[in-house]
């Protein structure tokens, strides 16, 4: 386990606070790209997903997108946009790639959240005279929130992983130390940077898991039914 000691020594070395890209700066950069891209994706995907869920129209599009996105290699997408948009705009190109990768999970979460609501709940809203807008904002959006947060959670993890890879085109972030370590054959640096990336992903995942529980509206029974139902909590998009 000596390699792990070396890796932790690398992480906590005073050298990490100085140099071209100090470790904390890389973490902040990583988080900045992640949340910036997911926020842009959310602005596009949440209204679209709610529209699909509310009207029931276009669900094929959501299903197709979440399926197609899975086969799209994120490294390829990043490199392609980097070359097409221009190597001088690598940050913009990378953000476009991150946004494209984040949209399907959020769209699916927004739409599935509304679709998973018991129809009789929506009918009850209509029966007491709610307008379609009231049904959307007072019933569908709050009840669909846990699945929406689940979709955002998947998107965040997907983007965290992709930002790491995007260091290949010189984006910075935590992948920078990893790639530099591979190029200079510095095992402690490679493992140290990997550990930081993995911890970052796990912390974000844990935070979102907590958030997902908090947003369940009071008075809504938490459904602890079969595992088949529980899987709707989060779409299994593996980290990239």
């Amino acid at each position: 386990m000596n390699v792990f000691l070396d890796a932790f020594a690398w992480i906590f070395s005073p050298d990490r606070t100085t140099g071209y890209l100090p470790l904390w700066e890389a973490v902040l950069q990583h988080l900045g790209f992640t949340f910036g891209s997911v926020a842009i994706a959310a602005l596009i995907a949440i209204p679209a997903g709610w529209a699909i869920g509310h009207t029931g129209k276009g669900r094929e599009i959501a299903v197709f997108l979440s399926g197609a996105a899975r086969s799209l290699p994120s490294l390829g997408l990043v490199v392609l946009l980097y070359l097409v948009i221009g190597v001088n705009f690598k940050e913009q190109a990378a953000v476009v790639a991150f946004v494209l990768l984040a949209i399907p999970s959020i769209l699916a979460g927004a739409y599935a959240g509304i679709e998973a609501i018991n129809r009789s709940t929506v009918e009850a809203g209509r029966a007491v005279g709610m307008t379609p807008m009231q049904i959307l904002w007072k019933i569908e959006v709050p009840l669909g929130l846990p699945l929406l947060i689940g979709g955002i959670r998947s998107a965040v993890l997907q983007v965290v992983a992709t930002v790491t890879i995007a260091a290949y085109v010189g984006l910075g972030g935590l992948g920078f130390a990893l790639i530099q370590g591979i190029q200079t054959r510095n095992a402690a640096q490679i493992l140290g940077a990997s550990i930081v990336v993995v911890i970052l992903a796990l912390v974000l995942d844990g935070a979102f898991a907590l958030f997902q529980r908090i947003v369940v509206p009071r008075g809504v029974a938490v459904q602890h039914s079969s595992p088949t139902r529980r899987r709707t909590r989060r779409a299994p998009v593996p980290a990239t």
Binding site: L75, L80, P227
Partner: protein
């Protein structure tokens, strides 16, 4: 698209290597997930922990996983084995939940009927539970296959030769058609394998052609699986 025409040989070789690496991981993942998924289904107390651990596995960014595998097992960091092990871990992570869900989807009455006519536990598992869990497991296997094929390209960052090489090489030499060809090749392979799995599923599970999965579950599975 000149580049593509001149490098069809290279693309072919990389495609074969890509398929080989992905296939090993998909098959291994599937085989390993069956006992794990069964254990999570059978021992309810274990379920939360096991599926939780498995869930954590696929939150790990792949580029971060390679070094962890290498450091804990001694497998060379920049080796094909490392990539295949990483892909297998992700495949197990997705498939275990599918196997558990699949076994849970088997009608309890059918299981009781099998016991009633005298099936032992092993025979019941192989001839009743597993086949009937097939449709849900197939949905998981399709997700596993497609994401493994797409994910394998990250191997190029640790110097493994597969279609991901077209991304790193194309990036260094600034050849857009090369990168585009790589993306398209990955997507096409993923679609072909996905189709092959669907057809294999129809051949192996003829009953699914007539009996449709209940609408509610099918909808949920389409989005999440």
């Amino acid at each position: 698209m000149n580049w593509v025409g001149q490098n069809l040989d290279l693309i072919g070789q990389l495609t074969l290597a890509h398929l080989r690496q992905s296939a090993v991981a998909i098959v291994l993942g599937f085989v390993l997930a069956i006992p794990l998924g069964w254990a999570a289904f059978r021992f309810t107390r274990l379920r939360g922990t096991l599926l939780g651990v498995v869930g954590i596995l696929y939150t790990i960014p792949s580029f971060g996983l390679f070094a962890l595998i290498s450091a804990t097992t001694g497998i060379g960091l920049l080796s094909e084995t490392n990539l295949v092990v990483a892909l297998t871990i992700y495949a197990v992570a997705i498939m275990t939940r599918s196997v558990t869900d699949g076994l849970a989807s088997v009608d309890a009455a059918v299981r009781s009927a099998a016991v009633a006519v005298g099936f032992g536990p092993l025979r019941r598992f192989w001839t009743v539970d597993l086949p009937l869990a097939g449709p849900v497991m197939l949905a998981g296997l399709r997700v596993t296959a497609v994401s493994t094929i797409s994910l394998a390209t990250v191997g190029a960052l640790i110097g493994v030769q597969n279609l991901g090489y077209l991304f790193t090489n194309g990036s260094q030499r600034r050849i857009i058609p090369e990168v585009l060809a790589g993306v398209l090749a990955v997507v096409v392979i993923a679609l072909v394998i996905d189709l092959a799995l669907v057809l294999a599923g129809r051949a192996l599970m003829p009953w699914t052609r007539r009996i449709r999965v209940p609408r509610q579950r099918a909808r949920a599975a389409e989005v999440t699986a």
